[in-house]
C-alpha cells in the first residue's frame, strides 16, 4: 500500500457551517409547521436552537412567530447556512442570491433535478456551477437535509420526529437516501440508541458521501459512524474520509446496497467483468477496516457495541454460560465469524471444577444452573473468566435467569462488580429480560437477547481494532516503474515481455537454430526444459515424437536437439526446420490468474484468484486498489478460499507464495504507473511453482483505451 499523506481534516471541517451553524436562513419558509418549508423552523423552535433563525418569505411579516424577511438580500447578514425549500425552478436564482450575500453553506431540499430526467440533470449541473462559482458547500438537491441535535440544529424536513426527538449519544449517520437515513435514526430511537447527528446527501451535486463521512471522522460530536450508500460517486474524499476515521479510531459500519448489480459499463476487461462495482467497493472497505452490515439490524447491533469504544486489536472471546447448548451455539457462531475462543488455563479449569463438579470450564465456561442454587458462584465464575482467561471480550449468557425474581438482583450485582473491576474488557450480556435491559445498560452493559447477534457484533470490534492498529504502521511506499505503453494493443508475446520488464515474469522460452544456442538457453532457464521441433510445417508435433519433456542437462539437450531433427527428417522430409524451441518446463504448478482493470470511481484495481475456469464459476477472487506492496498482495492471496491449494493442501508442495505476491504487487505498480490509457490486464494462467522456484505467466493480455486489436 502506498504511504498515504495525512488527510487534511481541515478540509472536512469546511462542512462545519452545514452541520454546526450559528445562524440559519430558511428560504421558502412556511407558517405551517407541517409543510416542508415550515418543519425546520418548527423543529428548531420546539427544541430551542440557540443561534439566529431567519425565515425568508416575501408574503409574510412573521413566520411561526418569528420576524420574516422578504428576500435573501433583506437578511441582516450572510447566514452560516441557508435552507432552500422553494420549487426547483427558483432554486438556482436563490442559490445565486445567497452566494452574493456571502453565504457559503446551503442545503437544497428541492426535488426535480438529476433524479427526474435529462432536463433536471442539466438544471443540477447549473446549480452545481453556481455553488462552485461562489465557493458554496451545497448539500442536495433532493435531500432530506441535516440534523445535529447536540446544538438543536434541525435543517431537515423529515417527519420522523413524530415518534420522538433524538436522545443523547455519539452515533452519527450519513446516508445517500433520506428515507433510509431517517429509518435508521428511527430504528435507533426504538432501541434507545443515541443518534444525534444525521446528514443525508441526496443527489450529491457537490457534497458527496465522502465529505459527510470525513466531517464525522473529525467531529467531536461523533464516535461511531453508520453509513448508507447506493453507489460511491467520488473516490478521493471518500478514501480520505475512511483513512481519517481509521486514524481517529472511529468505526464505520456501512450498508451498501445493490450487491447484485454488475458494473456493466466498466466491464472493458475480463477482470472487470468478474468484479462488478460492488466487489471494488468491498475491497476499498476492507482496506480501511470498514465493516459491512448486511441488514439494518446488524448495522445497529454493531453501532451499539462500538459506542463502548473498546476495539481489541487481537480479539479473543470468553463465554460464561448457564446453558451448555447455548455454549455450543455460541461457539458455532464465533467460528462462523472467525472469532477466536482460546481455552481457559488448565489450573483455572481445575479450580472451577472444584466449585461446581459438573461444570464445563474450558470455554465456553458452562457454570450450569447449579449457580442459581449457590448465587456467590456467579461472581466467582465471572471473575475467573476475566482474570484467568484474560479474554478481551466476554459474553455471558443467562437466558431468562436474569429476569428471575430470586436470582436476577444478585446476578446483576455480582456481574456488575466483576465488570467494574475489568473496565478494559468488552462485556456483553445475553439474556431474556426485556424489562431489565435498561437497568443493565445504565450499569454500563451492552445487552442482546440473541447470543449469535452479540457474537457478530463482538467480532466486528476486533475488525476495527485490527484496522486501527494497522493504521499506525508505517509502510514503505511502493516504487512505481517507468511505463511506456505501446501505441496499439500488444500481442501476447509483447504483453508478456512488457509485464516481465515490470516484474511479472513469463514462462521463459527461446527459439534456437543450433544445439549450442539451445544449451545456452536451457542453462539460462534452469533444468528441466522442454524441447519442441520448430517448424511452420509440422502442426502436430507430438504425433511425430517432436516434443521432448524432462530434458535434464546439457548433454541431454544436445542429444535431444539431434533426435528432434532426425525425427523431423524421417516423418516430414519436406518440412522447413527452423531449429528447436527451448522452454522452461513448468510442472506441478498451481494455476492462478492475475488481472487489473480500471474502475470508473476508484481507478486501477488489481485482482488475484484461482486460475482456469474456477475463477468464473466460483468467484474466488480478491481485489485491491493499485498500487500495493507485497505484504498486502500476500494478504489478498491468503484471503482466497482456495488458498490451501497454494499452501500444501493434501501433501502437495507449498507454492512459491513470495514470488506470486511479488508479481502481484509488481502488476499493481505497473497499473498505477501506466496512466489512464491502460484499460486492463489479464494474466491467466499464472503458473506458480513450488517454493523457491518462482511463478510464470503463461498467457497475458493488455487492453488499451481506444486500442485496436
Amino acid at each position: 500500500m502506498t504511504a498515504v499523506a495525512a488527510p487534511a481534516s481541515a478540509g472536512f471541517a469546511s462542512l462545519d457551517a452545514l452541520v454546526r451553524p450559528r445562524s440559519v436562513a430558511v428560504i421558502g419558509a412556511s407558517d405551517e409547521p407541517a409543510r416542508i418549508g415550515g418543519r425546520p423552523i418548527a423543529y428548531m423552535k420546539e427544541r430551542g436552537f440557540a443561534g439566529e433563525l431567519w425565515p425568508v418569505n416575501p408574503k409574510r411579516q412573521t413566520v411561526q412567530g418569528l420576524p420574516a424577511f422578504a428576500s435573501v438580500e433583506a437578511l441582516p447578514a450572510a447566514p452560516d447556512v441557508a435552507i432552500i425549500a422553494v420549487p426547483a425552478e427558483h432554486a438556482i436564482a436563490t442559490l445565486d442570491s445567497l452566494g452574493r450575500k456571502g453565504c457559503r453553506a446551503v442545503i437544497v431540499f428541492s426535488a426535480g433535478f438529476a433524479e427526474m430526467d435529462e432536463a433536471g440533470a442539466a438544471a443540477q449541473e447549473r446549480l452545481t456551477a453556481v455553488a462552485r462559482s461562489h465557493g458554496i458547500r451545497l448539500l442536495g438537491p433532493n435531500c432530506l437535509g441535516v440534523f445535529n441535535d447536540s446544538i438543536r440544529f434541525y435543517g431537515t424536513f423529515t417527519a420522523s420526529f413524530e415518534k420522538g426527538w433524538p436522545i443523547p449519544g455519539r452515533i452519527g449517520v450519513v446516508s445517500q437516501s433520506g428515507a433510509y437515513g431517517t429509518h435508521v435514526f428511527s430504528a435507533a430511537l426504538d432501541r434507545g440508541l443515541g443518534m444525534q447527528v444525521c446528514i443525508t446527501t441526496g443527489n450529491e451535486a457537490e457534497v458527496a458521501l465522502g465529505d459527510a463521512l470525513g466531517w464525522m471522522a473529525q467531529a467531536p460530536e461523533v464516535d461511531v459512524i453508520c453509513a448508507y450508500a447506493e453507489g460511491i460517486r467520488e473516490s478521493e474524499r471518500f478514501i480520505a474520509a475512511l483513512e481519517l476515521a481509521r486514524r481517529n479510531r472511529k468505526p464505520i459500519v456501512m450498508m451498501k446496497v445493490g450487491r447484485s448489480q454488475l458494473g456493466g459499463a466498466a466491464a472493458k476487461s475480463h477482470t472487470a467483468s468478474i468484479a462488478g462495482d460492488d466487489t471494488v467497493t468491498q475491497a476499498v472497505l476492507d482496506e480501511f477496516g470498514v465493516v459491512r452490515a448486511r441488514t439494518t439490524e446488524e448495522m445497529l447491533d454493531i453501532a451499539y457495541v462500538a459506542a463502548k469504544r473498546i476495539y481489541p486489536a487481537r480479539n479473543t472471546l470468553g463465554v460464561l454460560t448457564v446453558s451448555g447448548g447455548a455454549g455450543v451455539l455460541i461457539s458455532d457462531a464465533a467460528e462462523q465469524v472467525g472469532l477466536e475462543m482460546p481455552p481457559m488455563p488448565e489450573a483455572a479449569q481445575e479450580r472451577l471444577r472444584g466449585l461446581v463438579p459438573f461444570c464445563a470450564p474450558r470455554n465456553p465456561v458452562d457454570c450450569t444452573a447449579q449457580v442459581t442454587n449457590n448465587l456467590p458462584l456467579i461472581g466467582q465464575f465471572a471473575e475467573s473468566v476475566a482474570t484467568d482467561g484474560g479474554y478481551t471480550s466476554i459474553l455471558s449468557f443467562w437466558s431468562q435467569t436474569a429476569a428471575g425474581r430470586s436470582v436476577g438482583p444478585s446476578l446483576r450485582q455480582q456481574m456488575q462488580a466483576v465488570r467494574a473491576a475489568h473496565p478494559d474488557r468488552l462485556w456483553v450480556m445475553s439474556m431474556l429480560a426485556p424489562d431489565k435491559v435498561r437497568d443493565y445498560e445504565a450499569d454500563g452493559w451492552v445487552c442482546f437477547e440473541d447470543p449469535s447477534r452479540a457474537v457478530n457484533a463482538i467480532a466486528a470490534m476486533g475488525h476495527y481494532g485490527a484496522a486501527f492498529a494497522a493504521a499506525g504502521e508505517t509502510r514503505p511506499a511502493v516504487p512505481l516503474p517507468q511505463v511506456t505503453l505501446p501505441e496499439t494493443t500488444p500481442s501476447e508475446a509483447a504483453a508478456k515481455a512488457l509485464l516481465a520488464t515490470a516484474g511479472v515474469p513469463a514462462v521463459p522460452e527461446a527459439a534456437c537454430p543450433e544445439a549450442e544456442a539451445a544449451v545456452a538457453a536451457a542453462e539460462r532457464f534452469g533444468y528441466p526444459v522442454v524441447l519442441k521441433i520448430l517448424s511452420p510445417d509440422i502442426l502436430h508435433k507430438s504425433e511425430i515424437g517432436g516434443v521432448l519433456l524432462d530434458v535434464g542437462d546439457a548433454g541431454a539437450v544436445r542429444q535431444g536437439f539431434a533426435t528432434l531433427l532426425e525425427r523431423a527428417r524421417q516423418h516430414a522430409p519436406t518440412a522447413r526446420i527452423e531449429g528447436v524451441l527451448v522452454a522452461k518446463q513448468i510442472k506441478g504448478a498451481v494455476e492462478m490468474a492475475l488481472g487489473m482493470f480500471r474502475d470508473p470511481v476508484f481507478g486501477p484495481v488489481a485482482m488475484v484468484g484461482l486460475g482456469g475456469i474456477f475463477i468464473e464459476v466460483l468467484k474466488d477472487v480478491s481485489f485491491r486498489r493499485c498500487p500495493f506492496d507485497t505484504a498486502e498482495a500476500e494478504r489478498m492471496i491468503r484471503s482466497l478460499k482456495g488458498f490451501p491449494l497454494l499452501d500444501g493442501a493434501r501433501g502437495r508442495p507449498k507454492a512459491d507464495l513470495p514470488a506470486l505476491a511479488k508479481a502481484l504487487s509488481a502488476l499493481s505498480a505497473f497499473a498505477a504507473a501506466a496512466g489512464p490509457r491502460l484499460a486492463g490486464i489479464d494474466v491467466n494462467p499464472m503458473l506458480v511453482l513450488p517454493a523457491g522456484e518462482g511463478c510464470y505467466a503463461a498467457d497475458a493480455v493488455i487492453e488499451l483505451e481506444g486500442g485496436s486489436h
Copy 2:
C-alpha cells in the same frame, strides 16, 4: 428416493400418555413449591390441571395441600404418566415399581446418568432395560420434562415460568437441551408467540428426538415445530417423524448446533472425512424440507410466520415500499436467499405511474412518500401489487410512517382492507412502530422491524411449500441390484469392474495382442481411441512415440498398431512386446468425484462433488442417504456451486448430466444393497464427457469393514 411407506402415526401417538395425560403421579413430591419435586405440582395446581394429581412421598400425609401416597404401590391406580424426581440411585427401583403398577409413561428428572461418567452410563443402560421390560415410554433421564399448556399439564421443573405462563398458540418445541428448550420458550413469550407444548429429551435413554418430533407431527395441538439438537442419535423414528411432518404440512425449523465438529470416528473412507456428521444431518434435513435456523432469533422469526400456515409451493415476492433505498436492500436480501421477485405487469406499472409520476412501479414497487400526502393511494398501490402482481408473498415496508399520528391509522385501515381481500397471500409488514405491532397482529399481520429478517422468513415458507408439494409426488422405488462383495478389499481394477456391473461405468480399455483385436475393442468403445504400446520393459512410452492419440477409425487403428510395434522395435529392440492397449479416449471431460460412506446413525450416504483437489479445499459437495433415484441425483448435482462447470460455463460444451446422475443413483443403489460390510467407496476422478457421450470412472476404491489391503 425410495417410496417410503406411510409412517405409522399411531406409533408416535404412543407418546400421548407422556404429553397428554389424565393422571399424573410425582415420585419424590415435595411440599416446597420451589424444589424440583415440588414445581410440577405447584404449576399444575396454579394452572388448574383437570386430571388426577398424585404426590408420592412416604414422609408426608399431604403435599402442597394434596393427599400424599406413601409409595407407588399405594397409588389408587396406574397413572398415565409418572414423574421421577428422586435421586439417581433410587430411580431404577422406582421405575420398576411403576412398571409393575402398570404405568407405561415415565419422565425422569434425575441426573447422574450417562451425562456424568461410566458408572452413570451403566446405570442408564439398566434404567433403559427396566423401561423396555415393562413397555414403558421413558423420557430422560436428566431432562427438564414436558409441558402441554393446552391441558395445563406441567411435567417439568423449569423455572422459566417466573416470567409468565404460556400464551395460546400452536408452536411446539422439542429440545435435547432443557435449558435451550426453555430459553426458546422464554424468548417466544417475550415476543408474544404462543408456544404451549414443549418436550425436552435429555439423555434420550428411550424416547429420542424423533419420537418427540413424530408426536408433534401428528398432534392437533401443534402446527409448527421448533427443534433443537446437539446430535441425532437415532435415525429410523427421526426420519419417519420428518416424513410425517412433511405429509401433514407441519413445518419444522431446526437448530442443530456443533456445525464445526467433524465426525472423526466415522471417517473410515475419504468421502467420510469430507463429510463430518453435520453434513449428513444437513442432507437429511434438506431431503425433507426442514429449514435450518442459524440463530434462535431466526428460528422464532420462521416459526412466527409459519404459524400463518401459508406455504407457497412456488414462492414469489412482491414488495411495496415507501423508500427506494429499502427496496434495493430488500431486493439484495431476496437474491441472497433465492427468493424470486418477478416484475409487475407493464400495464399495471403504467397505471401506477399515472397515480404517482415519480414512483418506481416495477418490483419493488416504490410508491414514494408522496402517498403520505394523498392517503388513498396507499390502498390503490397495495391492491395493484396483490391483484396485478399476483405474488404469493407480499412485503410492505413503511418504516416509521406506520407510527405517524396522521398517516398511521389510515395506513392500517387501508392495508387491512387489501389484506382481507386476499387472504391466500402471505402478508408481511415491515415497520418501525413497536407500540403498533400488537394491533397489526390482531388484524392478522405478521410484523418485522427489519425487512431483511422478514425476507428470510418469507423465503423459508417457500421452502416448506416446495417440500410439502414434493411429498405428494409418488416416485418409483429405486431397484436394488444383487451385490456380492469380495472377501477382501478389491484392487482398483476389481473395484471398477464391480462398480461397472452395478451401473457406474469405468473408462473402457483392453489389452490387444493383435491388430484385429484392437479394432474390435475400438469399435466397441467408440472412436477416437488411444493406442499405447504394451510392454513391461518400456516405462516412458511417450518418449519413444509409443502413445497415439485421436485414433479415429479402423484403418487408423490398424496403421497405429503397426507404427507402435515398429517404433518399439526401433527404440527398444530387446523389449518384450505384448501388443497394444486400446482405451477409449476421454477428452474435454469435467472431473467429478463420487463417493459413499456409512454414517453411524443414517447408514449409507452418497456424495458428489467437483473432482480433484477442489473437493477438499472448496468443500463443494452434496450428500444424500442411499438409495435415491436419478431425479434426486440430478438435484444433488445441480445444487453444487460448481454446477456451471457441467452446464456449459464459458462456452464449454454441456456435460452429460443424465449419465452422471444415472451413475450416482446406481452408486447409491449399490451402496444400499451391499449391506454393512461395505464401509466406503471413492470414485475420483469420475470423468464426465459432453452431453450424450457418457461418464467414466478413472479410479475407484472400495473399502470393506475389517477388509485387509
